[in-house]
Symmetry: C2
């Protein structure tokens, strides 16, 4: 989430990120895993509304239309107990569960998400960039790029979870 | 918005309210009018997500399914500038605009909303209650009850604004 400006209780940012599959298991010894649970209150093309818990924190995030790999994003921290109740009572099912590791590699931050629940078996790495044409040094544990494959969009992993991909 | 518990940055509440048309113009001399602008990021039956500006403040509000006149609600304050940008770029159009007066009458708070824009001409009063069977003293400027008429739900005033009702 690059180029953000801090707001009173949240921030607006333009999100520029690329998404990859993993290569091997060397990444498992890096970073500190944190449990993320997230669900959607809207998954339309024009706007998504996401509620998330990350460890002991809760967040509400609004995103607009993607333009290339850029996307406008607004994120606000909310009480963890509210986020839990919203996930339980209001969010579309199933909820997405994943364990996230945040790893710095040659000046860039990589987030590795190991999914559980309905997306068990899926592992994805995302890197946050400052500009669309920014050069990246690929860590040795990074595999094929899937930035533009809609099956891997978080919002689509609700409708078509990874454990059901081979049934199609 | 009765029975709320204060959260770190917002609150969860059960909303119990009744809605009325107005009678005469005596209410116009009461309260301090504040401009509200609001739009929806989701208007489904299961969940609504609303962004609102009230004077110089901004809010994000999530509501669940209505059960009778009760409805679970989560509200969070966000920066006014974010709310303006979300209304402009992300919310479904048209935006609802209204001038709200908050008036105390015999121990209860009444909110009178005078709509502008696409709902020009519509004036509604809402009263917030602590329980479904609470007795209310009707102020003399309160007219017909419309609590259960879906045309008057705020979320429906986006799809079918008041100025178009007689065209149906």
């Amino acid at each position: 989430m690059a180029a953000w400006r801090k707001g009173e209780r949240g921030f607006m940012s333009i999100e520029i990120e690329r998404k990859f599959l993993l290569n091997g298991n060397a990444w498992r010894t890096l970073g500190s895993p944190v449990l993320y649970r997230q669900g959607y209150l809207n998954r339309s093309k024009e706007r998504t509304v996401r509620v998330r818990t990350a460890g002991e924190k809760g967040y509400l995030t609004l995103k607009g239309i993607s333009r290339g790999i850029k996307r406008r994003e607004y994120e606000y921290e909310i009480p963890k107990a509210d986020a839990d109740a919203i996930l339980r009572d209001l969010a579309e099912k199933p909820i997405i569960e994943k364990t996230r590791r945040r790893i710095e590699y040659k000046g860039l931050f990589w987030e590795i998400d190991e999914f559980s629940g309905e997306n068990q078996g899926l592992i994805l790495a995302e890197v946050e960039l400052d500009s669309e044409d920014q050069k990246i040094d690929r860590p040795p544990w990074i595999g094929e790029e899937v930035t533009h494959d809609p099956r891997y969009y978080n919002s689509n992993l609700v409708l078509f979870p990874y454990t059901k991909w081979d049934l199609k």
